[in-house]
């Protein structure tokens, strides 16, 4: 058994992080529970499409309540720390801006990079903890020969969250614990029950925590209205890949690459969104086969298992969370840019999403699709 340490646990109010806290406590560590208050769920209440109260999501008072109950049950100190300002600056605004420029953002990765493993890790260290544990399904290991901290896929592949964690630096990984990396979700629920945690059967949350009901379009409207700004006019033309205008659209933020429904164009064969042009506000539509591409470029890269990409490397690349991964060659194509060349063409490469590279179970690194 490892020697006892002081460990901060990022508690979301869900079963995973609660179980982590209970496990570490049972192992004899000195555990401190922390919940980040990131977004005031009542803030946009009253705007059209925004519910009056939001339950069962990160940062709702119910989740703080659940986390606090867990802390009481297992007998650990528990605190809520407020990072609303940073969250809005580093996650919410970029989320809005990305949609308005025709990209499809992933706020969870931004939150991990800028909040959980940055701000919260700093707080954890400031209050005397030497590590931060979370309920993510991933593994972190130090590789002696490489002299590097590795991020690896978890035992429960159906819960794999490594895609959202590709941005973690060596310094961050060195102070991070993912105690659920070797467990299957049903085991986690079992363990939660074993520890007497009332939320053992609480349903998993799947949505973006600050977008109630998952309707990001309504969120954009409400957020911009609250800022005293109207949704900018991002309407424009629907064009084919050879530039033929086939219709109009109400705003590029309504589209994502690969989308088929809601194009409002009737043709013989189904049409898909192939590309969104932020500068000309054109949405390019085309047939299924036009959705496939062999290459993509990522920027704002982060490498984990290697310090630098000195020569091309064979990897499995994932281009969205639910993508199963495809064989590819990655090579440096510029300063902080990597070119990804797939063996087989991939469907719906989406700017704003991340491409994350794997060598078997090990996360090599990743970047944001340009």
């Amino acid at each position: 058994m490892p020697s006892p340490r002081t460990i901060a646990v990022a508690m979301s109010g869900g079963v995973d992080s609660a179980t982590v806290a209970a496990m570490l406590c049972a192992e004899g560590h000195s555990v401190v529970g922390l919940t980040m208050q990131l977004w005031n769920q009542r803030r946009l209440a009253g705007h059209e499409g925004m519910p009056e109260s939001v339950q069962g999501r990160c940062c709702s008072l119910d989740d703080v309540y659940d986390a606090r109950r867990v802390a009481e049950t297992i007998g650990i100190p528990y605190y809520v720390v407020n990072h609303e300002e940073r969250f809005e600056r580093d996650v919410v605004r970029p989320f809005v801006e990305q949609y308005l420029s025709g990209r499809t953002p992933i706020p969870c990765s931004l939150c991990n990079n800028h909040l959980k493993f940055d701000q919260l890790l700093i707080v954890a260290q400031q209050i005397g903890a030497d590590a931060l544990a979370t309920g993510h399904y991933a593994r972190v290991e130090f590789d002696e020969p490489l002299g590097r901290w590795l991020l690896k896929r978890p035992s429960d592949r159906s819960k794999d969250q490594t895609y959202f964690l590709f941005g973690l630096t060596q310094a961050q990984l060195s102070r991070t614990l993912f105690p659920l990396g070797g467990m299957m979700k049903p085991e986690v629920r079992q363990l939660a029950k074993h520890h007497g945690l009332a939320l053992a059967q609480k349903p998993d949350s799947q949505e973006i925590c600050f977008v109630p009901g998952g309707d990001y379009k309504k969120f954009l409207d409400a957020y911009l209205a609250e800022q005293g700004a109207a949704l900018p006019d991002t309407s424009g033309e629907l064009v084919t890949s050879n530039g033929e205008i086939v219709g109009d659209h109400g705003g590029i933020h309504n589209f994502t690459v690969g989308q088929r429904k809601g194009l409002g164009v009737a043709t013989g064969s189904p049409l898909y969104v192939i590309q969104i042009k932020g500068d000309t506000r054109q949405v390019v539509v085309g047939h299924q086969e036009e959705l496939y591409t062999c290459t993509l470029r990522v920027r704002r890269t982060n490498l984990i298992s290697v310090e630098d990409l000195r020569e091309p490397m064979r990897v499995t690349a994932k281009i969205r969370h639910r993508h199963e991964g495809a064989a590819a060659l990655i090579e440096k194509s510029g300063d902080d840019e990597i070119l990804v060349s797939f063996d087989q063409p991939q469907r719906a490469v989406t700017p704003g999403q991340a491409a994350v590279f794997y060598a078997d179970d090990v996360v090599v690194g990743g970047g944001w699709i340009a």
Partner: protein, 388 residues
Amino acid sequence: MRRVYLDNNATTSVLPAVFEAMQAYFGRRFGNASSIHHHGQETRAAVERARESVAGLLGCRASEIVFTSGGTEADNLAIFGLTKPGQHVISSTVEHHAVLNSCKHLELSGCEVTYVSVDGHGLVDPDDVRRALRPNTRLITVMMANNETGVLQPVEQIGKVAAEADVYFHTDAVQAAGKVAIDVKRIGCDLLSISGHKMNAPQGVGALYVRKGTSLRPMLHGGSHERSRRAGTENVPGIVALGKAADLAREALACGELEQMSQLRDRLEQTILREVECTGVNGKGAPRVPNTSSIYFDCIEGESLVIALDLKGLAVSTGAACSSGAIEPSHVLTAMGMPPERARGSLRFSLGKQNTPQDIEFALRLIPPTVARLRELSPIYHHGFVSR
């Protein structure tokens, strides 16, 4: 683990003598003070004795005391009980939320409110209050002592402004009661709120002084309790406790106990300022209650410091207690012109009757190294040092 409590502006412990006084009214003396029989008479007598004690603390008649469920209810009763739509109210930007949010609510229901600003020390200028007067001004409500900084407002001068203009004057004295002498005649107020749990009585009881002749509309409707100013069966154990706490507070003020507390506070404050760089006292240039010290620590998040200290056994706070545990930069400190970062790096130390010199030494052993650790890990601190 040894634990030291320096958050007495959030709440205080019930003094043993107070607890003893109230205990009988949970058991043997259980009557309803409105009942005709012996049981009722017994509790009625206790309630009225407590009323006299509270009146003694505030320098008023017993009949001018209305017992409430606490400071918030007392503030609400004063503000909503006196005003009608179309009238004007003057308050300040540093009030407790019990007053501030009541005023915001008044604005929604057709009253106009002027929030007089404060200077860098947190003080309201009585001339600003005078200048804010309008023909339809009904009420001035300015606190006596601030909960975050302990700053004492010039309530006597504000009382004169109110008297000259013939408008009602309410003061929230929740953080002043038991810490400084209160005389409603000298203040010249028509209404004054106090809270039991800020002065060693339990949570759930408070009182409003209502000057004789003030026509106050009740907020709670029901029986004719509290001379028809506050319906509802009296919280007898709480009221008895408040009475006892008022007696003890008077004694403490008379025998110099508060001066000792002030010395402890000053020792804490001066040592922190000497041993920890980039710190300062908020509201230092103003008169303050003897138990409170609000100190800013540049380049740190007060929230993290509170947590770090709590894990080592020292209970302090960043300012007003908040139910979710999450904070906004203090409206009091920002109203004093402080930048939000400095406001967020401020801690409130508030002493109580039970604190000993050893408690202060304990705090002083913890604070400098804890602040140093926080700053070591703060990106802003290092950056700040380069640019300074």
